[in-house]
Assembly symmetry: C2
Homo-oligomer: 245 residues x 2
């Protein structure tokens, strides 16, 4: 069953994709996944700084990140950029173009990125053949909607809470994908993190430093270790500071 070699090379399909259970196919049957596989464009590679798509660009399809990370950036009338999202391996992007058929934001690789593509021009075709697909996509979009709402709420909280929540959010999402939850690399710069959280980059640096001083985390440039998850959790929920151990 694992002989899916086409034109002599190993073909990566949704079926043997390590992210299968986390990506679009979750919720589909084996047969439906097989169907999907044939239409998905396999892994492409981009380098740091490359665009997956640009704001205003035509909708090409839904992307799934296989490896690496990317950021979502919107721009206002003055050309100021706002980081609105961070995409980790196994996550989907491109939904912002569904309404207007044009992207509302740009997606930029933060390091070498490999990704799959579910081409827009085959979406209709595929939705006919796999009725459940659109519903699945909808589910993903809806989940993203909730994510954005959470983001809105987060921006109303204090700087400490925002940074703590940011760290734990990444931690949790990495864990779901099978990566280490307690040690990871921040692919965003302090500037980008600040922009994302609505804080000055100096504030991010300061708070990260403070958390490190308090022994909650370890920070070395972009490398982060989480030592006291519960303490961070307590900060997130705005609880009183835990007594210094």
């Amino acid at each position: 069953m694992s002989d899916r070699t086409v034109r002599g090379r190993l073909e990566v399909t949704c079926r043997n994709c390590s992210l299968m259970r986390l990506c679009i196919p979750s919720g589909l049957t084996q047969q439906e996944i097989e169907h999907l596989s044939r239409l998905v464009i396999g892994k492409k590679t981009l380098q740091r700084g490359d665009y997956l798509y640009r704001k205003g660009g035509k909708f090409r399809g839904i992307f799934a990140i296989k490896a690496g990370t990317a950021k979502l950036v919107t721009y206002d009338l003055h050309g100021n950029g706002y980081v609105t999202g961070l995409l980790l391996p196994g996550e989907l992007l491109g939904f912002d173009a569904f309404a207007a058929d044009r992207h509302e934001c740009s997606a930029i690789a933060l390091e070498t990125v490999r990704y799959c593509e579910l081409p827009a021009d085959r979406l209709d075709e595929l939705c006919r053949e796999v009725p459940k697909l659109l519903r699945e996509l909808f589910r993903h979009a809806s989940a993203k909607l909730y994510g954005e709402t959470s983001q809105v709420v987060l921006t109303k909280r204090t700087a400490d809470e925002r940074v703590a929540t940011f760290l734990l959010d990444i931690s949790r999402r990495l864990q779901v994908r099978g990566f280490s939850a307690l040690e990871f690399r921040l692919s965003l710069t302090r500037q980008d993190i600040g922009n994302y959280l609505g804080l000055a980059l100096e504030t991010v640096s300061r708070i990260l430093g403070k958390f490190a001083d308090e022994g909650l985390i370890g920070v070395h440039s972009k490398h982060v270790r989480i030592f006291k998850q519960e303490a961070l959790q307590a900060i997130c929920t705005g609880s009183a500071e835990l007594p210094s151990a």
Copy 2:
């Protein structure tokens, strides 16, 4: 063709709904709209403070507001509420429950509200019969996603910009629905506006007062008139203050 009377009374359907072009059916054919009409539950009425649905409640369907306004509120672990949205007549809500089949926020009537319901249990049925429907719903959800993103960006701007943007956003949305764009009633309290924009209620009051002093708007309790739209627009985009006329 206008004899759609059932059981002796005039039946309100999507077909003769004044909001037709703004609601779900936009993008569907006459025949498809007819189909949709049969499954939609007609106008229901709620009073100020009543819930359209509650956070955690099971997904009952997509709602369309016919008259009145409502607010969306999420709650954190401590029970603090966060206003995440304001719904005007002709707008849809309920998408937040699509992912988990449970609502991520509560929807509360701000005054007497009449609304239609596209029941969840008939959604599947209808999506089969009207293939384009799910896609249309998706389009709506995607648009809401962009709205949330805009909200995130907005929360990173100054208090003046937030309030000005808030006023113009309502103005624009009312205009689309055929209401007066320059004179309307703020159904949210200062508290709710502040919560929505991430500001203290006093700050909202002060800025509204300032705008009024500067002759940009007229404010009388919840009643608002916009006098200088361009000036507000200039504030939104963070441009320099216009010279006092």
